[in-house]
């Protein structure tokens, strides 16, 4: 047990884990197919790291805490004089007066002091920014809180994608309420890029509307512990219809627009023809085998395959492109004198909203706050300590001061000089 704790508290293990976790994470970014970050062994690596952090922090912070709260008062004038940053001076003065002057000078530099009298000797302990010494511990505890939040998210977090067309209602499975999409709108910039997606959503409680809000990317809705975010959107191409413009050569009177449902057919007025929209693709492309496919579900290159039928017999068929009318290819078996254009496509847009409940999130934010507080304490709030021994020797007071600061060694020297010169000035 003891050797296990020693292993877990060792910095060597920490260094080893640092390198291992880093290497594993790098591997994961280049092999996304592995989905490495959710595998048990990556997670156990993180847990081992957490255990290492926990044991390191506990074993190291406790002695530090004890030293801070209960100083040992075990220093001597000779010991202080040998320190890296120390000052010694003798002064014709009363012991108590000089102690007071020193205390005032230290207080002016915002040190907090403790004093111990032992025989004729006065020991002075002055500290400032003491909390900075615990910065690293706070960071480490914050990291553990973040990891706990992550575990909480993984275990208790619920997530669902709600695919909603306007007017439709979706159940939020675990929350006991429903949502209805009132409408969905895509706004565009003048250059055609998407400016915003707006889903107007009503929360239904027991079938009754409780609240209506518009959700956008970066403007989620939080209701009843569930977060709704605009996740994506798309078109319901399966139920699209196309608007065709039909003209007859030499007969301007026949120019008209007709609407045909994809998969259906409709009469072409004043003729004995029926026009069918056989197939529609939003982003037309020919693959290697010359087969028609769609490159995406975005209407980048909408194309429809039409057919004209007379008495149930196909007499004309071909593809029309809304963006490239001149490339339309229509083959006729009987001359009709008709030309077709794909004018527009009508399809409902659906909105995909992510519903998520995650009790881990607030824990994560607490952990982040602790990490940041700890980092700023550790790196921008370095603790400083000045110890002093004052003693009457041959009618003079001899004062020895030593400053100590792991992260602000120069600053503590400056403090020492300022304190010494202020105390001496005070006297003379």
């Amino acid at each position: 047990m003891k050797s296990l704790i020693r292993l877990l508290s060792s910095v060597r293990l920490a260094i080893f884990l640092f390198i291992l976790v880093t290497a594993a994470s790098i591997l994961g970014t280049f092999l996304p197919g592995l989905n490495l970050y959710r595998t048990p062994w990556y997670l156990s690596l993180l847990l081992l790291f957490a255990l290492n952090i926990l044991v390191c922090t506990l074993t190291r912070s406790y002695p530090r805490l004890r030293r801070t709260l209960k100083p040992s008062w075990d220093w001597t004038a000779a010991g202080l004089a040998a320190a890296a940053a120390s000052r010694t001076f003798k002064q014709q003065a009363e012991l108590e007066g000089l102690v007071r002057a020193l205390r005032e000078a230290l207080a002016a530099r915002r040190y907090r002091m403790r004093e111990l009298k032992r025989g004729g000797v006065v020991l002075l302990l002055a500290r400032k920014r003491t909390l900075g010494g615990f910065g690293a511990d706070i960071v480490h505890l914050g990291l553990l809180v973040i990891l706990a939040g992550g575990i909480l998210s993984g275990v208790l977090g619920r997530k669902a994608d709600l695919v909603l067309s306007p007017g439709r209602i979706a159940d939020v499975p675990w929350a006991g309420f429903q949502v209805r999409l009132e409408d969905f709108k895509t706004d565009y910039y003048p250059n055609g890029n998407v400016k915003s997606w707006k889903s107007r959503l009503t929360v239904l409680k027991g079938g009754n509307p409780a609240l209506t809000r518009t959700i956008e990317v970066n403007r989620p809705l939080k209701y009843g512990g569930v977060n709704f975010t605009q996740s994506s959107c798309g078109w319901n191409w399966d139920e699209a219809s196309v608007i065709l413009r039909v003209r007859k050569n030499g007969d301007p009177a026949l120019a008209r627009e007709i609407e045909v449902r994809v998969g259906g057919e409709t009469d072409l007025p004043e003729t004995d023809l029926r026009i069918a929209a056989v197939r529609f693709v939003p982003d037309f492309v020919l693959d290697g085998a010359n087969e028609v496919r769609t490159r995406s579900y975005e209407p980048n290159n909408p194309a429809v395959q039409i057919e004209a039928r007379r008495a149930g017999r196909s007499i004309l068929s071909g593809w029309l492109f809304s963006k490239y009318p001149e490339y339309g290819r229509v083959r006729e078996t009987e001359a009709t004198g008709l030309t077709f254009e794909l004018r527009d496509v009508k399809a409902d847009q659906f909105s995909v909203l992510q519903a998520a409940s995650d009790p881990g999130v607030s824990v994560i934010w607490i952990g982040c706050a602790a990490v940041m507080a700890g980092l700023f304490l550790a790196f921008y709030w370095a603790p400083r300590e000045i110890r002093a021994v004052l003693e009457v020797k041959k009618g003079k007071v001899e004062a020895v001061l030593a400053g100590q600061s792991a992260k602000a060694a120069e600053a503590v020297r400056t403090d020492l000089d300022a304190v010494v010169s202020a105390a001496r000035r005070e006297r003379s």
Binding site: T22, V194, C368
Partner: protein, 275 residues
């Protein structure tokens, strides 16, 4: 003056400053370094104005494409250097830092980087764009300065080792100074990088994507960079590593930061496709 002209003027001032700093480096002209500092500061002022002007022209934060991000990183690096030069006595880094800044500016103005301001896609329409990117890049600017000090340390240490072999004794001052400064500068950058890159990133991700962490390549590489800087700090603070080993970790960490900034965009696909 328009934004591109101001950018160009800042660029030219940086080049002139670099020339002066190189005079200082090779001909030991103290005056040259002082004037170089003034020119670099003047360049930084113009660069600041260029960035502000761009914000007014495009109407949003100036880091939504590579041109803007590179320009901002160059600005943050020169600003970090100008602030630190005197406090940390790192004048000899000046020429190298300016060369880095010039490289960033040249890359930003190369035809490979699209400059036209595209209107913001929905995911970027947030105040977190300002906080997330600017704080991260300012943190990285400190890393850049810390990396240059580490490289100078490695050079100084080599020189001193050879000098010792020749003269049988050496002055540790230069290399020891770089070693300390390197740590102190990285220690300034680390909390900023954590705040901007990870914490602000997570807060924004939870708002925009509905999830604070998605193991997106850019997220993971930010974490990897953070781990390597964490390794640097732990080996230094807890294990007392110094000098060459420490400097090498600092250089590797910065390479990871660079990969997070550039490499991920070009080599790995993910949610951060617009950055």
């Amino acid at each position: 003056m328009t934004e591109p002209k101001m950018f160009l003027a800042a660029f030219i001032l940086y080049i002139l400053a670099a020339v002066l700093y190189l005079f200082f480096l090779f001909l030991k002209k103290e005056n040259a370094a002082r004037n170089g500092y003034v020119l670099a500061a003047a360049g930084a002022v113009l660069h600041t104005l260029a960035l502000i002007l761009r914000v007014f022209v495009i109407g949003h934060a100036p880091f939504t494409n590579m041109y803007e991000s590179l320009s901002f990183l160059a600005w943050a690096s020169i600003a970090a250097y100008l602030v630190l030069e005197r406090a940390f006595a790192i004048r000899k880094i000046g020429p190298f830092l300016l060369l880095l800044v010039i490289a960033l500016m040249a890359l930003a103005s190369s035809p490979l980087m699209p400059k036209e301001a595209a209107p913001l896609v929905p995911a970027l329409q947030s105040h977190w764009l300002w906080l997330h990117v600017s704080v991260t890049l300012i943190g990285e600017a400190f890393f850049a300065v810390g990396t240059l000090t580490s490289l100078l340390y490695l050079a100084a240490e080599r020189r001193e080792r050879k000098g010792m072999a020749r003269k049988g004794g050496h002055d540790e001052k230069d290399s020891a100074h770089y070693d300390t400064v390197s740590y102190r500068v990285i220690a300034i950058g680390f909390p900023l990088f954590t705040l901007g890159g990870l914490v602000f990133g997570m807060v924004w991700a939870s708002k925009a994507w509905g999830s604070y962490w998605s193991w997106d390549p850019k997220e993971v590489w930010t974490l990897i960079t953070w781990f390597i800087y964490g390794l640097y700090l732990h080996t230094r603070i807890v294990m007392g590593w110094k000098g060459r080993r420490s400097a090498l970790i600092a250089v590797i960490a910065f390479l990871a930061a660079l990969f997070t900034f550039f490499g991920v965009n070009y080599l790995l696909s993910g949610l951060h496709s617009y950055a």
